[in-house]
């Protein structure tokens, strides 16, 4: 299945979409581009750190609501489209902490209605809620320790999650390298998951070393081979983040309006596929630099890239 078909089949208007990756690492950018080209709207975006993948969808006016622990690109600044639209009230943000969000996915992946946590107590995260949230949390007394408050957070089961990983076989047996953030819990909680990957490997490779499988195929709806699919964010052991392009995107996002539109026209709508986009951001030469930068990082530690 190609990315066009996968997005057409599993992402729909009004869907709750789980975003993989974090900040400048392994955001599912190729899939985000395709969602924008297909104009899937009224989306609710969920995850822990919501980064450039979220910001681009917000900039394309496809988002109604976000639920997460944070929106930013760390050293590269805020997620400016998101910030502007949260400030103006055009989109709503439901705030949790990162542990709060992953606890909700944990409930979802285990078929439970909610999950307790000892975070959030006493904070304003429990004081305020987004306008369309019916019930954000409940505080109960620990049945085994009368008097002790415990927060219950509702399970979260996204309609579809999108992640970009290092390796998968064609069935969807996925190997995530490096940090895995909230992805294992989120994917197992999701009704469908679209995976893009750097490499498709043989199934016998998975099955000869199955303890390395991060997520087995039963959770995966579509696998698409898309090298560089996280650009401009990094993929551990494959390529570093593209600071130059991130800064360029941030300039456009910060300026907003016409500049966001121009960015989308040039890089997303003006590209048939992610491959076209990759040519526009510098093609092979630029990508090899990012690959080399990652190799240098790995080699300096005696690691096998």
């Amino acid at each position: 299945m190609g990315l066009r078909e996968a997005v057409g089949r599993f992402v729909f208007d009004g869907a709750v979409v789980g975003l993989g990756g974090q900040n400048i690492g392994r955001c599912a950018m190729a899939t985000v581009h395709e969602i924008i080209r297909q104009g899937k709207r009224d989306l609710t975006l969920v995850g822990c750190n919501l980064s450039i993948s979220m910001d681009l969808l917000v900039g394309a006016d496809l988002v109604r609501r976000c639920e997460g622990g944070s929106g930013n690109l760390e050293r590269f600044g805020s997620t400016f489209c998101w910030r502007r639209k949260v400030q103006s009230g055009e989109i709503e943000m439901e705030d949790f902490s990162h542990l709060g969000m992953v606890s909700r996915f944990l409930a979802g992946e285990m078929g439970l209605p909610f999950m307790p946590t000892k975070s959030l107590l006493g904070s304003d995260i429990l004081v305020h809620k987004a306008p369309s949230t019916v019930k954000k949390y409940e505080i109960i007394e620990n049945p085994w320790n009368p008097g002790e408050a415990v927060v219950l957070l509702p399970a979260l089961n996204p309609d579809v999650s999108i992640i970009h990983v290092q390796k998968s076989d064609s069935m969807g047996n996925v190997i995530i390298g490096g940090f895995t953030t909230h992805e294992p819990e989120m994917v197992r909680a999701s009704r469908n998951t679209i995976v893009t990957c750097e490499e498709i490997i043989e199934s016998r490779q998975i099955r000869s070393d199955p303890e390395r499988t991060t997520l087995p195929h039963i959770y995966i709806s579509a696998v698409v081979h898309q090298p560089w699919g996280a650009h401009p964010t990094s993929t551990y052991r494959y390529y570093d983040f593209d600071a130059e392009h991130l800064r360029f995107y941030q300039e456009c996002a910060r300026a907003g309006g016409e500049q966001v539109k121009a960015y989308l026209d040039r890089f997303v709508f003006g590209s048939e596929s992610f491959q076209d986009y990759l040519e526009k951001v510098g093609g092979k030469e630029r990508l090899l630099q990012l690959e080399k930068a990652m190799k240098r990082l790995c080699a300096s530690k005696g690691e096998n890239p």
Binding site: R26, N49, G68, S70, L99, G122, G178, F179, T180
Partner: protein, 269 residues
Amino acid sequence: MTVGLTRSEHGSYDLDELMIIEAARHIRNGDVVMVGTGLPMVATTLAMKTHAPELVAVIESGPIDPIIMQTPISVSDPRAMHEAARLGSLREVLGCVLQRGLVDIGFIGGAQIDQFGNINSTVIGDYRSPKVRLPGSGGANDIACHARRLLIIVSHEKRRFPLKCDYVTSPGYLNGPGARQRAGLKVLTPTITVVTNLVVMETDAETGLFCVTKLMPGVDLDAVYGNTGFRPGVASTLEEVAPPSDRDLETLREEVDPDGVYVKRGKSH
């Protein structure tokens, strides 16, 4: 507030540098440190390269006990992942290490810190119609709830130290003594230490309020009061922050922040 230059016996350094070096000193060798992005990552990298090579860094995206050679610019930076004991998941780090109670020091920044050590990283102004929407909690709420010691590093500006935060993202002593217990938090009297380019302040476990414990060289209490939206107490043993050693300065300038990303170069050397 602009930071002045201070002369050490060995040449000049500025207080932005000493702030990082002083914050690093609060990490003991062997501490389990949950590290956030930015200056906390810089100071932790410095500590690891100097007096605390055995500190165990945990980073929310999943790395547990990496060896940090280059300062990572993000919690998802590959630079935070090398030679880790394990590259796990966010649930593992925030749940099975932090909430489980295994973190000695939570090390974070924040846009606003109030008199009770509450931290705001969510919004300036009203939550419903924000003047500026900030990133939000990230892992900060979790860290402030569960770490036994909380280390905060920020550049000292009056607007960063209001009497009361616009929004409490991460709990300090909330509205005073006993409030953490009433809220149901597990760590009742965390030690909250703030290191700035003017001062070191620490919360008093009895009152939940900040006390000035150290002043940066050349800084007096009036400068602190003038740049703080509340009036912190003063410790009976008020000290001056020790000047940096040659090794600290060299390591910071040449290894931790060689490109001057965190401390602007050319001011003092």
